[in-house]
Amino acid sequence: MTEAPFTYDDLKHILVERIGLSEAEVPEDLDITFGELGLDSLAIVEVQLSLQQDYGVSIPDEDADAIGTLREAIDYTNHRLLSVEVV
């Protein structure tokens, strides 16, 4: 089984460095939504851009709209990263 290339710590890094959350504000609970973390639509675009800039994963808006929780964001990013590798 391939190790997940995009981890919780990677997402946490984005939330701290690009959105300005403190380390303590990023919960261990992966089922919390970005909205519950207080991210507005612009902040979510910033996360999207960060994934594109740092990991080369461009996320179509319709996919982004379907991502609600931190877990969904991590799974989606890994899915995209791994399928790119396969192709």
Partner: protein, 430 residues
């Protein structure tokens, strides 16, 4: 007998002052420095200025945005907005005004900006040309533009009345306050107004140098308004955010301090040339006359003038001419000062800081000095307050400001004394 006042009889007063200036953060620190002639102008330290013609500026040292706003908000905004939010918080504290206690639609935010979020914009533009369009951050869309500070103040404090931003370069601090006064006349009870600017960065400085009005003298005395050695001005950052209130509402809520009233305003435009000095001072003089007429006072009523003080021979001569033309014999008698010789020109932040100086001059009976201007230009015929501050009973003040491009603005402020406040009759005085 209580009556409902016609709107034109509402009076706009200033009840809160917030200052972020190169020679002091917070009103007390800044006023103490200003009245003691302490300059905040130094060699630029936020980047290496050695390749720039202008190497001295008024930087706000020791300003930490996290003292005033969250890290999350800091990521979304420019240094200029950090200073605006900090100064707005200070103004609210000073006025003991809690926006949460009032109808959101009874309050407005009207600030001035002349260059927006310079530093934020520079960082994003660098990403654009070095890495590509996909590397520009999402917050560029809200951080750089002129209305960002007004918008963030309104969001942070839940202020929903008609708001705006005025872009008239150095005249902006006055024009914003005049718009604030107009909002009060139209029924708004409290307006967060004034201006700040953060223009000390490589990109922003390069834009300013293109005007040819900056001093290239590389020492802390480079800015010498009305002095025969004047070589242009020094830029600076910071400014003042003021709380403008309807006098009646301020009294009703028990505002701790009513610094003074915005009594008159005049604004004109040279309409001559985008950057060359006009052939005469008639438009600046007309702005002064309009402000006096609006205030219903005579030149002799003025106790002090806070001048624009561009510190170039042509512009200083024009300002002296305008004062003589508009004030007549009183031009030679009234004390004139340019405290911005201690901060540099703060663009949109400069005039509102001068308004703060005027209000504190009234309150403390002291006119802050113009520093480094001990060799007056011959024949200018003005009583410049030089080197050290001067004690004076200041009841009425005139603040002048000019903006690159031909803007001229004048504001008359009047002290409000305790008898005015305790006597209900004042509400119908005008």
């Amino acid at each position: 007998m209580m009556t409902t006042l016609p709107e034109r009889r509402r009076r706009a007063v200033i009840t809160g002052i917030g200052v972020v200036a190169p020679n002091g953060i917070g009103t007390d620190a800044w006023w103490s420095a200003t009245t003691s002639g302490t300059s905040g102008i130094n060699r630029i330290s936020r980047f290496d200025p050695s390749r720039y013609a202008t190497q001295f500026a008024g930087e706000v040292d020791g300003f930490d945005a996290l003292d005033y706003i969250s890290r999350r908000l800091m990521m979304q905004t420019d240094r200029w907005t950090w200073m605006g939010l900090a100064a707005a918080n200070m103004a609210f504290d000073d006025a003991a005004f809690r926006p949460d206690d009032y109808d959101p639609y009874s309050m407005s935010v009207i600030t001035a900006s002349s260059s927006g979020g310079n530093e934020f914009g520079q960082v994003e533009i660098q990403k654009l040309w070095s890495k590509g369009a996909n590397h520009v951050g999402a917050y560029q869309s809200i951080a750089w533009f002129y209305a960002a500070t007004t918008g963030q103040i309104s969001i942070q404090h839940g202020i929903k009345g008609a708001s705006g931003v005025v872009v008239t370069e150095g005249a902006g601090g006055i024009d914003a306050l005049a718009h604030g006064r107009r909002a009060v006349f139209r029924g708004i009870d409290a307006v967060v107004s004034g201006g700040v600017e953060a223009p000390i960065g490589p990109y922003a400085l390069t834009c300013q140098m293109a005007t040819g009005r900056l001093s290239s003298v590389a020492d802390e005395t480079a800015y010498r308004p009305f002095d025969e050695r004047a070589s242009g001005y020094v830029p600076g950052e910071g400014g003042a955010i003021l709380l403008v209130e309807n006098l009646e509402s301020a009294i009703r809520r028990g505002a701790p301090t009513i610094y003074g009233e915005i009594l008159g305003y005049g604004a004109t435009h040279d309409g001559h040339h985008p950057w060359a000095p006009p052939p005469d001072a008639s438009q600046l003089a007309r702005a002064i006359k309009l402000a006096l007429r609006d205030a219903r006072i005579e030149p002799e009523d003025l106790d002090v003038v806070f001048a624009d003080g561009a510190a170039s021979r042509a512009w200083d001569d024009l300002e002296a001419q305008a004062l003589h033309e508009a004030l007549g014999d009183h031009a030679a008698a009234v004390p004139v000062s340019v405290p911005k010789s201690m901060t540099g020109r703060l663009y949109a932040g400069g005039a509102s800081l001068d308004v703060a100086s005027a209000l504190l001059a009234m309150r403390h009976g002291v006119i802050p000095p113009t520093v480094h201007a001990d060799r007056p230009i011959p024949g200018c015929g003005l009583d410049i307050v030089r080197d050290v501050s001067r004690s004076a009973d200041v009841r009425t003040a005139l603040v002048l400001a000019r903006g690159y491009g031909g803007f001229n603005s004048a504001l008359v402020l009047r002290r409000i004394s305790t008898p005015d406040i305790t006597n209900d009759a004042h509400l119908e005085a005008r």
